[in-house]
């Protein structure tokens, strides 16, 4: 058995994009991503939209078939053939609590469906009991079980989504922007729910979000992605306090800080221009066209992740 619960090695996910009648071009959504998560750990994955963070999350669960690379769960490779066995171990919570719940199903059906599929109960009473237990776990109660999704607020819906993911007792959950569709006051409730569950059940999270404040709050380690590659990975506090990659530096300086005094004194490191299209990736380092320190070497070679301090890796 390995030390890590989940290991991702050189994961690649290309989508064919039609460029003409008979020609297509690969869109490199994820291009060689490697990381590992220990049991009970939270790895935050941040990056701008289109950098491939959601694709990483979905590919791990084989919701997309990976183009290349390996996903190891407890040291066993996950393949399209055996992924069904791993669905009890790995689950996902989606971004949008409005579209990820079937409006024609009651809460007990939504939360109970994974139980049905995996045959995790023997009597109907047992099923009902388990559903109540799950709802209590996420801060809802059994009265809610007979209602439909539309009767709930955004925060409550997200809790239903979490309860559904928890139904099969997973050891690992991909949280794909679980709080970005929620109001600030509700966000805190859901974040606390995630933290409590981790303490109670020892679940590991891959926490995907674009909000760095949220990610640094919940994660032990943070990986920063840019255009399909991880550019920096380190302890959460380390990434925030001493970002090493120029992209991370800009990203952190761009976070709006809810504190007028710091906001006034802080200096932003503005980024020029937009994210290039992943169909037309620049040669070498993908960040090169927007980088302040870009040299000729950056155009030729694509940097790989190197350890520069214990547990702190950057690709620059």
């Amino acid at each position: 058995m390995s030390e890590y619960l989940l290991e991702v090695r050189d994961l690649k996910q290309y989508f064919p994009v039609r460029t003409g009648w008979f020609t297509s071009k690969p869109l490199k959504a994820v291009d060689g991503v490697s990381f590992a998560i220990k049991p009970g750990e939270t790895l935050g994955l941040v990056g701008e939209s289109g950098c491939g963070k959601t694709t990483v999350g979905r590919t791990i669960l084989h919701l997309y078939k990976p183009t290349a690379g390996e996903i190891l769960y407890n040291g066993t490779p996950v393949t399209p053939q055996n992924v069904r066995n791993f669905r009890q171990e790995m689950q996902i919570v989606f971004q949008d609590p409005y579209s990820s719940l079937n409006p024609r199903m009651t809460v007990s059906d939504i939360v109970g469906e994974p139980l049905d599929i995996h045959g995790l109960y023997s009597t109907r009473e047992e099923r009902a009991e388990r559903i109540t237990e799950l709802l209590n776990l996420v801060g809802l109660n059994s009265d809610h079980a007979r209602r439909y999704a539309h009767e709930f607020s955004g925060g409550q819906r997200q809790r239903i989504g979490i309860a559904r993911a928890l139904a099969v007792n997973p050891k690992f959950i991909v949280c794909d922007e679980p709080v970005s569709a929620l109001d600030v006051s509700i966000q805190a409730q859901v974040i606390n729910t995630f933290e409590d569950l981790q303490k109670k059940l020892g679940i590991a999270y891959l926490f995907i979000a674009h909000d760095l404040l949220v990610v640094q709050h919940i994660s032990q380690r943070i990986a920063v992605m840019y255009l399909g590659r991880i550019v920096e990975i380190a302890d959460a506090d380390e990434v925030i306090a001493h970002p090493m990659h120029p992209y991370t530096q800009s990203l952190i300086s761009a976070i709006p800080i809810p504190d007028p005094n710091t906001a006034r004194t802080r200096k932003r490191i503005p980024l020029e221009g937009d994210v290039p299209s992943p169909l037309n990736m620049p040669s070498g380092c993908a960040f090169r066209p927007r980088c302040r320190y870009a040299t000729e070497r950056c155009a030729k070679e694509c940097p790989s992740l190197t350890e520069i301090a214990p547990g702190h890796q950057i690709a620059c």
Binding site: Q156, V184, A188, I191, H217, P260, N261, A263, P270, D274
Partner: protein, 337 residues
């Protein structure tokens, strides 16, 4: 003191829906001085966007202004005719919407849409309008502006489109710019670019900005003055420093506690319990009472009035009244001793 540029007095806006009258904005008043940045924060459904739409008078049916005045330079625009409103919008007050993906017309070129506003509101001819459009695109930092004029919105990225929206809003040099969550749909690095741009343009052109957002970080960065809204009412207002360092309404305090901060101690967040109020079924007393952990009897039955905390800070919370009484009682006790 001269009259403020914009005075909103006791504005009420309602939506008549099947389940009853939704009072989205319920009697709010504020002033906006020339060249100032006013921030309005609140969660979804607190009425901040409806306030903006009321000022522009672009409410969608069945929304309607049911009371109050909106005075622009002393003139009540609620009484304006449709024609007067058309003159007013764009020229006096412009708005930038949240979603740059849907607020540009997909079947017209960028140039076409920019020119339309300029031709309508100024007496420039086509050629001059074109030049002005080009100038505006340069001002907001769009690269290759000549090429962009001929392009359609789908050819631009989100940040670019928001820049075009800003260019369009500023083309006729309005006195007030309303920014309705201008950066919510954008990535942080692009958000930083846009905010920086807005600050720079504001300094250059001296317009007043009403900044509507739920992101306290954006507010802290940009605003001179802040209004906190909850359930269609203003619960607290004051300068940025006062609101962030000395919040006096339980809702604002809750908000401040519930946001993660950029620091290295992972202190647990203290969320605000419960969910937002149902606007069709507003409680009798303070709208926040059901979620407030320091709720008192009076909060359930009577609406708190806005009290002065100091010269640049007001809050509508019974806790402040209680504090005054408590202090008086403590003083008396000290005296008797």
């Amino acid at each position: 003191m001269s009259t403020p540029l914009l005075q909103v007095k006791n504005l009420c806006t309602s939506f008549n829906v099947d389940s009853g009258e939704v009072r989205a904005v319920n009697g709010i008043s504020f002033n906006l001085e020339k060249g100032k940045v006013l921030g309005i924060v609140g969660e979804s459904g607190s009425g901040k966007s409806v306030t903006a739409y009321s000022i522009m008078r672009i409410l969608v049916e069945p929304g309607r202004i049911t009371g109050g005045q909106i005075l622009f330079n002393g003139e009540d625009i609620v009484q304006y005719s449709r024609k007067q409103m058309r003159e007013f919008r764009g020229k006096r007050v412009s708005i930038i919407f949240q979603d740059p993906m849907t607020s540009l017309n997909p079947v017209y070129t960028i140039g076409n849409q920019l020119r339309e506003a300029i031709l309508l509101h100024t007496d420039r001819n086509r050629e001059q309008a074109n030049a002005r459009a080009l100038e505006m695109l340069q001002l907001v930092g769009v690269n290759e502006p000549e090429k962009r004029l001929k392009q359609y919105p789908y050819e631009l990225s989100g940040g670019m489109r928001q820049r075009v929206m800003i260019a369009m809003a500023l083309a006729c040099e309005p006195d007030i710019l309303i920014a309705d969550e201008p950066t919510t749909a954008l990535d942080v690095t692009i958000q930083a670019q846009i905010l920086e741009l807005m600050q720079e343009l504001q300094r250059k052109m001296g317009m007043a900005i009403i900044m509507i957002t739920h992101d306290l970080g954006v507010i802290a960065d940009m605003c001179d003055e802040i209004i906190v809204m909850y359930a269609g009412r203003i619960c607290e207002r004051g300068t940025a420093d006062e609101i962030f360092y000395n919040p006096r309404h339980e809702y604002t305090k809750g908000l401040m506690r519930s946001i993660p901060r950029l620091d290295t101690n992972h202190a647990r967040l203290i969320p605000i319990a419960g969910s937002p109020v149902d606007l069709t079924n507003m409680p009798k007393g303070c709208a926040f009472a059901s979620r407030c952990d320091r709720c008192m009897k009076i909060c359930l039955t009577e609406l708190p009035e806005e009290l002065d905390i100091n010269d640049d800070h007001k809050a509508a919370c019974w806790m402040n009244v209680k504090q005054v009484y408590d202090e008086a009682a403590a003083e008396k006790e000290a005296e008797s001793k």
